[in-house]
Subunit: 504 residues, 2 copies
Amino acid sequence: MSDYDATYQLLCEKAKEASMLATIQELLEWDERTKMPPAGSAYRADQAAYLAGLIHQKQTAPVIGDWLEQLGESPLASDPHSDTGTVIRQLRRDYDKKTKLPQSLVEELTRTAVAGQQVWADARRDNDFTSFQPLLEKTVDLKRQEAAALGFDTTPYDPLLDDYEPGESTANVTRVLRDLRDALIPLVQAIAGSSQRPDVSIISRKYPIAAQKQFGAQVVAAIGFDLRAGRIDETDHPFMVGLGPGDVRLTTRYDEHDFCDGLFSTLHEAGHGIYDQGLPREYFGLPTGEDVSMAIHESQSRMWENQVGRSLSFWEHFYPQAQSAFADPLGDVDLRAFYGAINDVRPSLIRVDADEVTYNLHILIRFELEQALLEDRLQVADLPAAWNEKYQAFLGIEPTNDADGVLQDVHWSAGLFGYFPTYALGNLYSAQFFAQAARDLGDLDAQFCQGEFSLLREWLRKHIHAQGRRYTPAELAERVTGSPLSHQPLMDHLGQKYGELYAL
Amino acid sequence: MSDYDATYQLLCEKAKEASMLATIQELLEWDERTKMPPAGSAYRADQAAYLAGLIHQKQTAPVIGDWLEQLGESPLASDPHSDTGTVIRQLRRDYDKKTKLPQSLVEELTRTAVAGQQVWADARRDNDFTSFQPLLEKTVDLKRQEAAALGFDTTPYDPLLDDYEPGESTANVTRVLRDLRDALIPLVQAIAGSSQRPDVSIISRKYPIAAQKQFGAQVVAAIGFDLRAGRIDETDHPFMVGLGPGDVRLTTRYDEHDFCDGLFSTLHEAGHGIYDQGLPREYFGLPTGEDVSMAIHESQSRMWENQVGRSLSFWEHFYPQAQSAFADPLGDVDLRAFYGAINDVRPSLIRVDADEVTYNLHILIRFELEQALLEDRLQVADLPAAWNEKYQAFLGIEPTNDADGVLQDVHWSAGLFGYFPTYALGNLYSAQFFAQAARDLGDLDAQFCQGEFSLLREWLRKHIHAQGRRYTPAELAERVTGSPLSHQPLMDHLGQKYGELYAL
């Protein structure tokens, strides 16, 4: 073995060790959010903080910097997309970002985010923005300091966005999302003006939770989520977490009087889970075995939830099973009426309840506002008014209180700035990948009608999942689809589907 | 703060850090045995091994030896049962035991135990002792090496027993258990000769599992297991684990055609859980907040399972609830018939299925055999014959195959020598404590009839749980009951209860 090879082995072992501690921490968090008894929370917080410190210590050990220095000049790094090149380049990126932040700032950010959860929850409960304002001002200030420590050319939003979308720029995202906004608003208005209205009361009939659980598990197994290497549990705010190769966990929630919330949450998380199960196991714990970015992850969840799970062809296959699982509420409902109801579009105030069409406008509002906050073009005190104004402009409605407005999301209180756009980018990537899959695989609808989902799944596995973190999100999209990120495929999908549904 | 105080603080922090890692490892194990998908097992084993190494490293850091050296001579250690004295003395004991074993032996023991699980499971499945024999020979040899490294005067069994029962001696256990055996065998024979026979078919009627779960949770909550600080899950081999102050987890299993297995497993584990929930939270992670020994732990589980849970007075309170939860199988069964059925005594081959009377004979057989193996008075090759001979002598029955005989328990394959007697000692302590509680608290049966369990529970909390690891098991029993460990209270209990049930 050459010296380079030996150093590379040491580097990989160190990365896998940090990754192992991270999966352990994720088990603690999964347990906290799904199983832990209430009285366990104080000690669990101590355990999590202890592990976070241990992980940070492993990830920022100076010896890693030395090894990366040596390897950066070696033949192992010469092809940046080879196995070794990917590992060296991405660990370099991670190490640099982590070591650029002073320990004191990291601790202050963590403390503020932890305190923020309670302050935000109380403020939301009391519909009292002013009690949240000082904490948000502090958070914005700390995020600006973080951006300054990481360094940027044009806007402090860039290095924060880069945490979630490596290599992506605020300018590019702004351009793409502006195109999306300009195309979406007329579509939303056209739908609002349509005389076609689905009967949405179907969705709030009584769907027994035991049957919802069983049907959800049946559906995700059918699309290819491996339940021998995963499981599904209940929680308040659904999420997916990979705890190791062979252990990928979905969480969801059920409402006896909402067919959509449980099933589409489950499908959404299963989309994330299928990505995780498709990552190359042999590279687990290394960048070659990791996901690309938040938006690419979201593209997978949104594809299975929306492009697949809300399509007519998907339900041509599954609707008979649904009618047999839910004979009472669905026995007298025909497929077209059901399809219309699960695709109801209407402007609403709450992001997480929004439909496939209006959802992106909720994101655009947040993206524009958080950018303005960080660039000091908007003061925190003026945020509620700015929020309401944008809802009026984009969606034609306005919240009557801040609890249903600017206080509805946890993100800002947790210091997550630069995260929101990944939801919209995920939708764009999703449509762009799906359009390419349709070009490569022929008539996907005909496949779905037959309950055939494996061709799409294997296509995703080969072109996206198996690549690990070899490329940036933008590079990956261009490699897979031949085109840069664009709003067009999503608009084509929405225009066609909803044009037909609402007779536009 | 004096230098001693400062050193003591450092020592406590180090102990709490190791304990925090241990609780994290226990969460991994709980998850593995209750939730983890099958494909997750390989990585989980890696995580567990990694954490085990980390914990061992924290526990054996030479600086701990230095601190203990300093503190051993300090005023903080002068009263061995004070808070500080207990911590220093018990950490000294743990440190000495852990550092006496050479790392190579620890690793070999671990490797052999891990390999042993599979070899044993295969041998049991195939009813083939000879395929297990070489591994067991190796294990016995390694345990002798372990005993030698730990040091002993009379028998290598002493230091192994001491792992589970600190300060206990083989000679004393042998004496007490021989008294027990000599009193038990005639009782078992008398019961076998009785013409009274309960109708045990009641127990194997159909008990829907959902109702079993609900009833079990209701019963453990009523006796005082706090479900806000704990939970109950399903597993193959029930266990209890404390994951932190405020997080104590019971596990159990259900068989639709066995009322007793699920309920008494749940009660047994709840007894362990009530002990854990009664340990002083303010000392969590220190010896003053830890349990005394395996046998004292078992005394708590067996008391709630047997002395309380199989008593007539307990069911005078709960039987109406049981009849309403299980109207089909129990509607036509009167309390006395039910009470007889759950207290059926008959010699059997399998330890874990044994009743309250014969159970201890199963333990005695194992205790005598494992002692003989370690003292080289019995060769592994001769073990099956010796096993069968003892079953004939003690219980009057003999296994027709080794799978239901010498291969039935996992313990020896996992290197657990010295562990079996703690089950019998637990039964003895249980009866001895219970008799004392009855002297202190008056008519316990009258209390149970009224659903009043808090007096007993608080008595246990005060006299046993709250003491942490301040005393050895023997010291604690003598302090609480005024007498050394004896077989008499258990025999008094069994003689009276079964004399009445079987009209002896």
